[in-house]
Symmetry: C2
Subunit: 183 residues, 2 copies
DNA sequence: GAAGGCATGTAATGAGTTACATGATTAT
DNA sequence: ATAATCATGTAACTCATTACATGCCTTC
């Protein structure tokens, strides 16, 4: 008789376990927190935050409490095995390479099948978009710096650096293109 | 009778269409090209590069030629509607936000549930890993700069900037941590 | 008390991932 | 000739995405 195979947890799993480590929450709470924090880098559809806690309950990492009457809302809280799984993950080596899923980058890669106009448009759009995102992160950092925990602030700081770096790239690129168009 | 709904193409679709715009190819060829170029940022499982061309054939964007005898390998080539779809995509606005799927970042975010040791380990690992990746990109750039097309080189240059930026982040962070440990 | 938006969830579909499988080719 | 690795593909499964559906609360 084979052991009941425990599934391999995904990034989504750890996001849920991590959030629940701060406090019990409903899926909606998770959705909110995620949207304002790591959801900025790594998007999760709200239905994932409904599905994943249910799976974690089945795995025995999380407990579910169903509200009596009313909407019968489900509140999840982390159990000791869940905390343990999170700790283990935190202390395991991080082998996977970072992925940067940027449609702008993809388009640039294939842009010799497009027009010069497309290119300029792309560069302007992306420049603008990364600038806005960087500004938003800076505001967010100011808002949370006094009470959020230290590593979360660091996370945003990396986001800021990243966005500024990409903003700069597009800006330099744009300048290069515009100079060419003059001559 | 409703029109046969044309599906919405995904990033994978455009990668295949883009690659096939350069030349006809088998799935294996695609796999190779992708692995050495955009696959660095955005990973595609090899099976996706077998599935997606088949879908594009069904959609009428791509033609398939099956080798007679032997392995009956399938070679794909782009058709005019495929080129058109790619052009349209290239000239459409890029609305989706960039996603940075970085497990290191996720771990940092939740690191107050881990130990200081984990934190140092993480910072060292990630620093090293991003440095290596940046070095690799630089080599790659040198190799291709003379014959690859211009926007592809730009793509790598963005990769280099990105990796250097993140490398710097972890390096600064590490320094900060090590100074604390002394006092 | 009606409208609009926020909160809460499920279902259907499609895509991505992993594992499996085996045919060619090259090196020894 | 055998082993090893490269090339080629399919199947099963899990996940993610999208669309749908409706309850609840506020505000006018």
């Amino acid at each position: 008789m084979p052991e009941p195979r425990t599934r391999k947890l995904t990034a989504t799993s750890y996001v849920v376990l991590g959030m629940l480590s701060y406090s019990p929450a409903t899926s909606y709470d998770l959705k909110q927190w995620v949207a304002n924090t790591i959801g900025n880098f790594w998007a999760f559809a709200h239905s994932q935050l409904y599905d994943e806690p249910a799976r974690l309950v089945a795995d025995g990492y999380v407990a579910e409490e169903v509200e009596e009457g009313g909407r019968r809302r489900r509140t999840y809280s982390i159990l000791p095995p869940g905390r343990e799984a999170l700790r283990e993950w935190l202390s395991s080596p991080t082998v996977d390479q970072t992925e940067v899923r940027d449609l702008g980058l993809l388009k640039l890669f294939f842009l010799n099948f497009g027009t010069r106009k497309d290119l300029l448009q792309l560069a302007r759009d992306r420049h603008e978009s990364h600038r806005e995102r960087a500004d938003a992160y800076e505001d967010q950092r100011t808002e949370i710096v006094d009470y959020a925990d230290r590593w979360q602030v660091k996370t945003i700081e990396l986001g800021i650096r990243y966005e500024r770096c990409v903003e700069q790239f597009w800006s330099d690129f744009l300048k290069e293109l515009e100079e060419e168009d003059l001559s």
